[in-house]
Amino acid sequence: MTLNGRHIRLVIGLGVAAVLLLGKLFSLQILDSSYKEDANRNSTIYETIYPTRGVIYDRNGVVLVGNKVAYDILVNPREVTAFDTLALAAVLDVTPDFIRRKMEEYKKRRAAIGFQSVTMLRMVPAETYMRFDEVKYRFPGFRGQVRGMRYYPVNAGGNLLGYVSEVDANYIKRHPEEYRSGDYAGMTGIEAAREEDLRGEKGYHIYLRNARNQIEQPYKDGAEDKEAIPGKNITTTIDAALQQYGQELMQNKVGSVVAIEPSTGEILALVSSPGIDVEQLSDIGKHYADIARNPYKPMYNRAVQASYPPGSVFKLVNGLIGLQEGVLRPEMMYPCSQGYHFGAGHKLGCHGHKSPINMEESIMMSCNAYYCYVLKNILDNRKYDNVAEGLDAWHEYVESFGFGRKLGSDFPAELSGSIPTSKTYNRSYGRGRWNSTTVISLSIGQGEILATPMHLANLCATIANRGHYFIPHIVKASEGVEIDQRFYEPQYTLVDTVHFPKLIKGMWRAVNSGAGMGGTAWIAHIDSLDVCGKTGTAQNPRGADNSVFICFAPMDNPQIAIAAYVENGGFGASYAAPIASLMVERYLKGTVKRTALEERMKKADLMDRVKHD
């Protein structure tokens, strides 16, 4: 065995290995030029230029949400010298511990930070920054950077406007490549609904850095820089004065008011009470814990998210279905003996009023018994094989009014409510084991019906339009901002236009018959305005009944349709009707003459009645 040959073989092997390495190096360093470009990218620095966020206007050009100047406090840890932590903390309105913690963190991350500046504090108000600016010379390495901050000249309610806050990791994940940490985005309300228009586009300045990571000069003299594009201004359909008035009337009550312009579907006011104070909105991060802990859940936008039984307001829908199905004629009289009696000793109660009555009077006086007959006739119609089929036909009608589904508005987080079908009852009673009396409470808007205040306002607008509605929306088309085509298209119900006037007459009489004539909503009467309304008193399993009212005005060529829902407010006429009526007066007349009523509503405090978890 000649082992000396092996020495040579090993040397050859070593040569092969060296050639392998050098070959790879050759391809990396000489053949492939892409690494040089990557290196260029590594050695440039992008400085982000933040755009100003779009302003939100009301329908008359009043600023609802504007911008004011705020500052981020940046630190370049390498430039920081020994400084007075206590003094800096006092100036910046933070604890000394916060600053110590931050400096400690930068020390740990110093390799990653290098010569860059990092943001220590975000969104410092201008007043604080002014204080800092005066003593800045004492703190080398610290500087401010301008960032826009939201401000709110009108108290239009936090739930309507929504808040803007720094995006979290989750948000970034849901919007890949659109946001980076440190960016702000609208999280709720209009801010979220029109985030894409409002945010604008970030720009950047590119700088070159040398091997010491010091910025030397603008890259290509700024030729590749991109300036920030400011966000688009948004004009909303909101009437700022009406919205603010609604906020005032609803204070210390739980519930909401939604007002819609029937001819367009534009939302004039959207009040959810209790709401987030606009004072807290600009710095939501600071108040978030308080808001989240509040037992009345101010974050919860009741106008589009609370599902309530609509109560007697729903009689209008049943009446219209009855008319369309031909099982109800306006002149039909039904008796009412303090309620509707069915089965063996069962009764659905009613209040005292004259008997028998026709349809118009049934609306005016809100008779329960009348609508029990109507619903029974709808469901037990010979046209249908059984009650299940009848109910499903009824369901189809109800859904055409927008109930039981999302209306498709541009306001985020809208809920659908629910309207029962035969399946609902088959599930709880079994197929064929229920009949029209089982579901009789549907006649008066109780039982398995749930609707949001927005649904009710939409119902009111539908009646005001005599049979069709426009999808409620909050943003008006304006220069550079388009709204979806669907908002321009009338949505027709399955009930013919001819059936509406008779019912509307009843609604008119409910309001305009004068006190003592049996009209349930006389309190909503406004001089020289033909207000048409319908009260509702919905059962609330947790305490006093909910007060419900919808109305529109004037009767001919209606300008406003409104729904008010006050939790635990009692009769429809006690709170909901006055509040809605005052808002109509404010909107159509500009001023409110009924100052005593206005005062009483503003002062009323129902919070004690509301039971919360």
Partner: protein, 507 residues
Amino acid sequence: MTERKVHIRQSVDWVLVGLYLLLVFIGWISIYAATHSTEPGSLLDWNSRAGKQFVWILTALGLAIVILYVLPPKLWEATCIPFYVFVLGLLVLVIFVSSDVKGSHSWFDLGPIRFQPAEISKISTSLLLAYFMSRQNYRLMRTKDFLLTVLIIAVPMLVIVAESETGSALVYTGFIFVLYREGLSGWWLGAIGLTILLFVGTLTWGPYWAILVLAGVLILSNIVMGPPSHLRRRLIVGGGFVLVMSLLPLLYNHLCSLVNAHMDWLSQRVWVPAAQEDYHYFWSLIPKLKPLYILLGLSLAGVPWLGWRAYQTKDRFLAFTLLVFLAGVLLVFSTDYIFENVLQPHQRGRIEVLLGLREDPAGVGYNVTQSKIAIGSGGLLGKGFLQGTQTTFGFVPEQATDFIFCTIGEQWGFVGCLIVIGLYVLLIVRLLHDAEACRDKFTRIYGYCVAACIFMHLFINVGMTVGIMPVIGIPLPLLSYGGSSLWAFTILIFVFLALYRDEKKYF
């Protein structure tokens, strides 16, 4: 034997010493270049890494002088058994007392100084190996001797694996070259090399490429070492097969994106549902025809056919190759299967990190990408001393230690890399040359061990920075920052120099 007096100046191999000093110096200025922006200061500033390295270099030189001129050369052979046992004890001890440094338990923390017994263990293992294998009547191919030899190498290696220092453990596989020099069959070398290649290849490149590399190696060896008939046909068929298969994944990706585009287009059209489903089904079949299945399908058809041919032509080498191929495929899939299905996610994660498949939270391969950018941007001549943008600001992690080669690549370019790798090759060749010149078997084997250690470190480290080896953190000998490693390589080399001089003195 008469004692010939040789002047000491002549008997020390000054060429080796010169190469050693040159590399140490290059390391020192590279460390300065890599860290001068984050740790400003002069070359000699004690607080900077370059300053600390200077102290390490001075102490290492002191150590070298002690080894050359103070300690008796016979000491090494005489104490190698207790030394080996002692170091082994340290290796085990460190698992229990060390602090966790990036998941590995291999550092002794002695106040200001930290050191890794794994570094010393290279020395003690080399010495014991040389002692054991140079004994009279030692026969490598005798089972008992062979097993003991393997044991000497494997025991510290396994303990180091237990310390989660896979990189250092991998260096020990280099001793196989020493065994080869001392008479181990070349087949062993090939088999072990191929096994490691397939194992690491399966995990880093995936089964497809692992099998293709296996096929390539076997086809090549068949052409080179098989019977010389039909050479041209073999070359065309084999080469064509490897070439087509290498391009297949590219073709497949292209095809998949075409099919996806077509499906998108389809989904925007109104179709009769049933027909649409059939049509969709047909198209959805194409992405399922993965390259791996094609490769396996061809192998399934090819192996029996080649087997039949081997039987007909009595080509034993071909039959052997086919068996190796089948065993290799089995190894690839069992590795893949065990890795993907048997191992728990955290175990898998550990191996991925060890193999550098998942190095850091910034994403798979961040280190390698940054390292390749740094080296690639150096071009032919580099950006000049201290002018590198990638290595001076922390784009490349561990740039003074494991990734020091990036600094050379960026600042001195391809020419710099060529020179540094050339210096290493010269160092290793010189070591082998000197070792071969020795008459004492102990010195020769020890010399080969030193060369093997340096070679393994060089190949793994540089291979890692250019992306052909997984990211396993081992230093570049003499260049990387750190006293532990510099001392270890100084001792390794200078013990050899002392032994070599001793030899010259007496023969």
